[in-house]
Symmetry: D2
Subunit: 306 residues, 4 copies
């Protein structure tokens, strides 16, 4: 796909405005269709949206007019809904993204089932020769303490070796994929090409794919709460962070409530609440006297250092 | 709720237009927010929408620009997707309705789970004194042959008695509901009112409720295929028929494909296909020689009379 | 429906045991099919189940054998999964209930969409003459402070009047429902009966219905976290509490984790965490200096009284 | 993973029987836990199930006892439910599979969202060195007429070249994956290993993964109707066919109805029905006079040859 052609198509799409009486968000309109770069070849684009902060209020009140009474009052209602997990009004807003992402990231992402997806079909079409290679600063060693975490960053010869292996394997696999397909200008007319649905199995998991992904604001917040979290794998977190910034332009009040009551919130077990109550009463609680196991105690004291 | 106030709110909402570069459908914009009457006190209003016919095409192609290449080609693709049940591109369009409907209809409707709903809360608010009474032409007797169907229409004294019972019971129950609540201008300050969440249990099932209901085009078509069907109960079918007309204004190409390949389509069992093949070969097939049971044979010959 | 017939059917079902190599939970087997009474005419029965505590472990490990390594280790894993909201392994257990409940309770319940439901059809069949009348101790006045809450209990003449209205309206509406149907032994052969799908609209919302309701353990916990909560309406909470006791017999380890990390847990906003940190450091924080609004401060101090 | 260990774990699981009063299906019990081989290294195992044919009947009737009245009557009801797409009673049966499958097949499979999944985590664990290589008879060329289809089978030098490329690329990529991980007995203690969550991106899409996959009978039938169909890609179809055989052992009546009314059924558009009616009336209809486009006519005459 020629990048210039894409840019022209995006410019064309942005050029054709129309009048609407639907809720409209100027800050998001300014972003529509544009590609926000993520990783080395990926991007996130907003294709369409429905609703705004006041649509949440309107649905919660099942009212006839636009949601807004007074901005202050609407914000209070939205924050109340978020705090008490009255989630259905947030389902009344939708957003549709076009995303380009490595296949191993797509495999994590697709586990969120309450979304609509149209993926570029490698059964029907030929994938581009693009694959993800981590930037040197993201080339992390396996964590020694957390089986699904990262440790320090590799460097020097270690990093060079890894980068070389990743790159050469992806390139070779793609070249053989193209050779097996035997299509296009370089095709050898004396040979038959392997079916696309078979040839694709030779590609590596860092090959880029792309999809249209549409979800409602409630499910988007759930996605962001897991994937914009510091425990998420870096390669999906950067997508989530880009989407979080877009969401802030779209529904600023709901997004602020999300940051306060979800993303930055802490859930304490019944036991942890009891420990805190004892600490507030002046008791010096230790892990031994807390009733928490070691792991819980570590998590607890990370949040409430003594 | 004062009708005039509602009309003013709707007029206000319709008056405030904005520019957007999102896909916009003028024929649907012309309908937005307006109440389409259904039954004696119900309505359907479109509150918002996302996408159009070309958004289906765009998602199916995972393309950068607007879907449209040539109108002819796009229509061919949409019809192909519908015919072969490639349903995901239809999920890329969303529509949000505000509906006022009797509770017994709401109970059928809510069985469609893949939608977002915000219902007016009788736990939190007081319901209006409005209930559904069938028009005389819809006052059907129980079918003698179909346990969940209607027979001929009642008339004369029979009809008058039924209408009188329905009306007087609904009125009395509502009056007692209000009496138990003991709120508003007529409240007796020497008595306490019953909790709203309890008092509501005294209402009859033809009391009107209202909700915001949002779904995507794929699930809307599923809803319409069941509820705009001649076997659906009349009281929900009239809602579905109104929504079908709205859908036609919104996505005319997809809706035409839906009519051809879903609503007007017939599914034949393996056995029925075999019977048709024999009939086309000139054989005179009877129920006895068909291999179909009586019920299937009746269904079959209703479609293909001999 | 004759109660004796039901009891016989339940006894018959309990009598026929078979061998299975599936995970089996004796404590739940002892409860199967039996009706646990709820409210005045309702019940909850377990019809079937799939999986146990060790099935959660087995799925989390994607292992070949039964989950159990050592009981201690399995419990640790289940608690870790619950604490960190790794919810998918809990989806691997299913339970199917048969529930009899008032229609206004059913309308709250059905808002939980991720379940399978088969409801007794009043379009097809005739409902029994059974309706819910609150016990005197549950006849609560409207709360003066919380629009969707209950205040003190009504008594004396106030209570008597309410009970009389509820009972007489439900009885009259049912009698007219039967009269309009005009079926059964007392039917008047000179009149036609109204269609069942229409006649049902005359019933009051406290009429009992029944359904089969099946869900997985993850969604059951979500249901219980909302409906076994003290803010839930009493009439649905008693169902949830019965189901919670059943769940305890079924998956005791997961259920204990649910109590600790969900039901008895507290979620603190980013601001509340900051306030707690200041309080632990010895600062005397007031609402004014907390950055919390009045409502949040009330919720906060209810949990951490000063 | 040692095959012997797996076999022992499966044998152990099969050895421990218990009594249950739940519905039990001896024909499925005989299959439980055993691995049915699919492709070169894959398998399907049934881990657990809930319900049987009579559970469908019981739910449809919302009855107290076991579904069965008379076998004949139950079968009639199940066939009626299937024919008229009354799908909810089929949701009352569940089945849980353990599946080992190539990643590119898993990516197709996961698009079915209404299921519960626990996949072996390559973020947390190390994948085995196993990948799919097509048997010579399945090495199909790209179809010349259908962009997502297969043509004739490659052979001779063409086949040999493809097989060699697939095998050598998969082997090399896995070897480098292991080298980057630098774990286990052969680890070089002077080097740090790359994080597992990163190293996995070097694997090819034919690498095997495995998961627990649980769904209800309604969604299983939907999966089978698409994936056991002749248009499905061979590599996923063989899994679906194995699962269809298992389903036949589990719910023979429902499965027969599924074959007649879904898998072997044909859906005709409104236009096709009209054409058939004209043909039955003796008219010689051609594509030109049919009103069908070329593609539809081809599909139509494939089913009803003239």
């Amino acid at each position: 796909m020629a990048d210039d052609l894409q840019r022209q198509e995006i410019a064309d799409a942005r050029a054709s405005a129309a009048e609407t009486i639907r809720p409209t968000v100027p800050a998001l309109e300014a972003m529509l269709f544009q590609a926000f770069p993520v990783l080395d070849h990926g991007f996130v684009r907003v294709i369409d949206y429905m609703g705004d902060d006041s649509a949440i209020v309107q649905a919660a009140r099942v009212s006839y007019g636009r949601g807004t009474k007074r901005v202050q009052e609407d914000a209070g209602l939205i924050r109340y809904l978020m705090r008490h997990r009255h989630t259905t009004p947030f389902e009344m807003c939708d957003i549709k993204f076009h995303v380009k992402l490595p296949i191993f990231v797509a495999r994590q992402w697709i586990r969120h089932r309450t979304a609509s997806v149209n993926e570029y079909s490698a059964r029907y079409s030929i994938l581009d020769n693009e694959f993800y290679i981590p930037a040197p600063g993201n080339l992390a060693a396996q964590s020694a303490t957390n089986r699904q975490g990262r440790g320090e960053v590799l460097d020097g010869a270690e990093a060079a070796e890894v980068l070389d292996l990743l790159r050469s394997d992806a390139e070779r696999c793609y070249a053989h994929y193209a050779q097996m397909l035997n299509e296009g200008d370089d095709a050898d007319p004396t040979r038959r090409g392997l079916a696309r649905e078979l040839a694709r199995m030779n590609l590596t998991l860092n090959t880029y794919t792309q999809w249209y992904w549409k979800t409602n604001l409630h499910n988007l917040f759930h996605f962001l709460s897991l994937r914009a979290d510091s425990h998420a794998q870096y390669e999906i977190r950067v997508y989530a962070e880009t989407m979080l910034r877009i969401t802030e332009a779209w529904v600023p009040i709901a997004c602020a409530a999300f940051r306060d009551y979800r993303l930055g919130a802490v859930t304490l077990s019944a036991q942890m609440v009891a420990v805190l109550q004892r600490m507030l009463a002046g008791e010096a609680v230790t892990q031994e006297t807390s009733g928490l196991n070691r792991r819980e105690w570590t998590e607890f004291t990370a949040c409430f250092p003594r």
